[in-house]
Symmetry: C2
Subunit: 331 residues, 2 copies
Amino acid sequence: MSNRAWHLVARPTGLPTMENFALRELAREPLADGEVRVRNLWLSVDPYMRGRMNDAKSYAAPFALGEPMQGGAVGRVVESRAEGFAEGDLVLHMLGWREEAVAPAKAFTRLPAIDVGAEQWLGNLGLTGATAYFGLLDVAAAKPGETVFVSAAAGAVGSAVVQIAKAKGMTVIGSAGGAEKCAFVRELGADAAIDYKGGRIDRLLAEAAPDGIDVYFDNVGGDHLDAALAAARLNARFAICGMIEDYNSGSNHVFRYVTRIIAARIRIQGFLYFDFMDRMADFHRDMTGWIASGAVRSRETIHDGIESAPAAFLDLFSGGNIGKMLVRLPG
Amino acid sequence: MSNRAWHLVARPTGLPTMENFALRELAREPLADGEVRVRNLWLSVDPYMRGRMNDAKSYAAPFALGEPMQGGAVGRVVESRAEGFAEGDLVLHMLGWREEAVAPAKAFTRLPAIDVGAEQWLGNLGLTGATAYFGLLDVAAAKPGETVFVSAAAGAVGSAVVQIAKAKGMTVIGSAGGAEKCAFVRELGADAAIDYKGGRIDRLLAEAAPDGIDVYFDNVGGDHLDAALAAARLNARFAICGMIEDYNSGSNHVFRYVTRIIAARIRIQGFLYFDFMDRMADFHRDMTGWIASGAVRSRETIHDGIESAPAAFLDLFSGGNIGKMLVRLPG
């Protein structure tokens, strides 16, 4: 069986290209004591990985040049020299972008025996869902009855935000690019979906929320953030999760509504899901409940085969995904 | 005695001009029961008044066209038909921009008998000082030992922020325009003063705070805010008090460091001093103590005569003041 991994071979300037990546066979070494060998089944690709391709200090260490990339993955144990792991176990870990992961046991988490697709541990039950949950409920402190605006609402995090907000009794306006995505946002339960390709986002948002918004969940930055400033009601809270518009371009957006921060006393807070590890049990309890009741559903855009990983990743930046973007491996 | 008041006669687009104002004699009516007549001694002019010249909903009602302007003022009671007010009492009120104020007693607050200049009730003991205090200590939750950056540090609010921060044991970097103002900022106790006219503010701030800033107190907006985003340490807090750069231009600044909100988990919060009325007693206790000990000193830029009020106000937007800008009347 092949044992390939995507290596970072050149750092991108602006939008990454295929030339930044190389698929290389890894040597298959015998396991050391305490190690586990996992055959990956699902690989996650996420916008935040763009930041790790730069050689810049940030919340996660940069990917090393010439080394395999990393990222969320679900796989099956094929060999174990560690207590607590047996052949056949399904595990969650961060050694993605490769067919086979070998590491000490502490790098792997055994999946709980609940009846969901294993891939959901990369989506609504994983980093994606936790980001939506903590951002909406902790960072923005969104309350039942409030009006929530979420950008990239057809994306992985955005679609989770829409559904959590509806489960909690909020009014939800989602933005997405194009009719198909907007239809999906409405299917998720959003009260309104805005196609930002159909006009100026500030005007479209003002029409969709004539009384303004209490909460903005930002996945996009740029004009969406500016439009949210314009629409913010008194004491609005913004959870800043991502700014996908800015990851490649180097942000240089003009903000026209920034003085509304004062008049409306807006609170803008950047966050990462791992700031809220102490609330993880609450998240798992609520999210498994919502999945069981059907309040939160998952949708994936799936690329097949290790070869497709960079294309799947690059598609994130051209709006190629509805729901969670995943790479499926034959195992 | 004359009884003139500045009326708003045309709404400005962009920077206000003398043509927006007209000085007109008011009829002197007899007092009704419960009313007080006050001869003004000090008038405050403040950047926030620019917003009230627009016909736009904001935190304060717009000034009415054809009517007298309003603003903070200190005066002396010359006639009273209200219990609790006697001729000679010094009072604080919001009927500025005029020589004489007539209103029901509830519009006036008698000044406490403490040994400070009456004009300080418009400055460090008034809206100006309270804005600095609540913004720094409540909104930004600045702590001893932290590094605070404050823009317009030679201005009324900024100079109070510098002194409060030093009284609380913080490291303070202030920005101001020109050598004279920067010297004043250092006199106030700032650890460093940045002359923003001397280069790019992001580079100057990075030099002054090589380890970054924990708190930014924003009076300016625009490039200063962007520079603070660049310099922010993990979990930095920004208190957004004013954006004088944007009040007239209509804000259209390019922000290059906005994605740092996520990486550094910055919290940005707009505020107004009257959001913190329940802390007013704490403010008065601390500020009177600091004034008595000399930890907080006041400096004013004074224009004389009712005729000078619009010019004093316009000077705020061209950097014409060090410390609090006031208009002094002969009483």
